[in-house]
Amino acid sequence: MRKARNIGLAALCAAGLTLGVAPAQAGKTSVKRTVEVGDYYFSPAKMTVKKDTIVVWRWPAGGGDGHDVVLRKGPSGVKKFASDVFFADEVYRKRLRVPGTYRIICSLHPDQMRQTIVVRR
């Protein structure tokens, strides 16, 4: 588990555990979906997952510019979350429990790096 930290820009920094989004729990059988974080993209940029899926954002070993994962807007009741800024060879995990649409950005490159995750029941 990686505790979210105060790293995002402005009001996007609210970190920590939330009612609707919880960090991945070790030992619990879960569906995982991996997202690549690169210069300057999330791949896939759009995806649909079932609720309780653990999304794993992965920064490749080769690295590149710094990027973070920041929830800009989520379903009602889900508090904002944010990763550290990472450059290479790192992962950030979140279990998405609440159905709805999650709009993700990189706070350093918000115009180019956007992701939409739809969580189904």
Binding site: R2, R5, N6, I7, L9, A10, C13, D39, Y40, G62, G63, G64, D65, G66, D84, V85, F86, F87, A88, D89, E90, L108, H109, P110, D111, Q112
Partner: protein
């Protein structure tokens, strides 16, 4: 700087050439305020970190215990950690190693995992922090990374062989990088990027820096109010490269000053051999290796009183950033830049640049004055080098731009070099093709 790998196609070229000379009005994106400057008097106090006999054996433990204005003194030794200074509660923290000999206090990234492996020191959302007297090496990200800060001082530092930038400031106002050395970094030795536009600008000063053996000595994407002075940029792929990119906010770069620097021997062909693993991004970017100073778009930047020699491709170049999306091309235009009183080549015709200056004539109000030249320019008819002052459009020269494109697209990265003899400098060996026995320069 990381340029998105948009191919230099004929379409891109044609698009770029459609907007060669005229500035278009455009609004800035809204500023994202990185914070207000420190107001309260420091609460002070000193914490000591050392390997034996101190309360703190880890720097991070002392940082966690520190309040505003606390001084943390770190003893000699090697510290395998990534230090994080992460909130306004840490405003004005002074992190001090050995300012007289930073090599005595090593921040070592090798063997670390996770967040600590990313940066030697990360300062986020803490204003007025000083980092003084450390040698950071082998981090996956940066030596020292400052983000969202109002004021910072990075001094007496060494940044070696990190994944991206040696000393890195982003989305911050004001600040200082000084008396520091950066080498073998996979992107640039020193970097200031995404400076928020300010009604009353706080300038950032880069002074007494030494950058060598990096892909770029200095890179500044969408940077502004930056003065680079009394520094040495040598043996990099390129020396100093302020630039405009869409990947960061607040285009373009502007109001920068590159004054009184030594910019020489920037012919490090890292494609041929390098002490760091090249990433696909680096190999996909057509940087014109062998360039001293390159303005890649930008406006109201002064390049003055620099000594520029022995760069085999070109000493000073400037070209509008024509790889932006069509709606952003206006941000990439060169406007109001002044190149004055620079000395190209050494006295008596020694150690000339391959070409002294390149300018394709794109943009407007760019001018040149009192430069001491020894090598031909591009274009050779000097038609683009308007005298100062200049207030209207420059004379675009398509042939000059195409020539520069051919430099950038050359797979050998050396085909268009015009090589001569370097005048030896005590303690510094020219670096073109790196070998494991290349000696760390002794800069005087």
């Amino acid at each position: 700087m990381r340029i998105a790998r948009r191919p230099l196609t004929a379409v891109a070229l044609a698009t770029a050439l459609a907007f060669p000379a005229t500035a278009l009005a455009a609004d800035y994106p809204p500023a994202n305020d990185p914070g207000k400057g420190p107001k309260n008097a420091p609460k002070g106090g000193t914490l000591k970190v050392c390997k034996k006999g101190c309360k703190y054996k880890k720097i991070q433990a002392a940082v966690d215990a520190a309040g505003k204005g606390t001084t943390i003194r770190v003893g000699k030794g090697t510290y395998k950690e990534g230090v994080r200074i992460l909130s306004p509660k840490k405003d004005r923290v002074n992190l001090i190693g050995d300012p007289k000999n930073p090599d005595n206090v090593i921040l070592e990234g090798k063997g670390l995992r996770g967040g600590p492996a990313q940066n030697g020191v990360l300062v986020n959302n803490a204003d007025g922090v000083t980092v003084n007297g450390f040698h950071a090496r082998n981090y996956k990200g940066n030596g020292v990374f400052v983000v969202n800060a109002d004021g910072y001082k990075l001094t007496n530092l060494v940044a070696e062989k990190v994944g991206v930038y040696g000393l890195y400031a982003f989305n911050s106002k004001g600040g200082e990088m000084s008396n520091s050395e950066a080498f073998y970094n996979n992107d640039s030795g020193f970097y200031v990027g995404q400076t928020p536009p300010q009604a009353k600008p706080k300038r950032t000063t880069l002074k007494n820096l030494v950058a060598w053996g990096n892909v770029l000595g200095y890179s500044g994407t969408n940077s502004r109010y930056v003065t680079i002075t009394k520094s040495k940029f040598f043996n990099n792929g390129l020396g100093i490269v302020p630039n405009v990119l869409e990947s960061e906010k607040f285009m373009p770069h502007e109001d920068n000053a590159i004054v009184d620097n030594d910019v020489f021997w920037n012919n490090f062909n890292y494609y041929a051999a390098a002490p760091f693993a090249l990433r696909k991004e680096a190999t996909g970017v057509p940087y014109p290796i062998g360039t001293g100073i390159l303005l890649f778009g930008g406006r109201t930047t002064r390049v003055e009183n620099n000594r520029i020699w022995g760069n085999w491709l070109v000493g000073h170049g400037q070209v509008s950033q024509f790889l932006l999306k069509e709606e952003n091309l206006s941000f990439g235009l060169l406007e109001g830049n002044q190149v004055r009183a620079n000395s190209f080549g050494l006295e008596g015709g020694a150690d000339k640049n391959g070409r002294d200056m390149f300018y394709d004539g794109s943009g407007s109000a760019n001018c040149f004055e009192n430069n001491s030249l020894q090598s031909p320019n591009t274009p050779t008819d000097n038609s683009t080098f308007a005298a100062c002052p200049k207030s209207d459009g420059n004379a675009f020269n398509e042939g000059a731009r195409n020539e520069a494109l051919s430099w950038a697209l050359d797979d050998t990265h050396e085909k268009f070099w015009v090589k001569g003899e370097h005048k030896p400098i005590d303690g510094i060996t020219p670096l073109e093709h790196w070998t494991a026995d290349y000696p760390r320069p002794e800069v005087k």
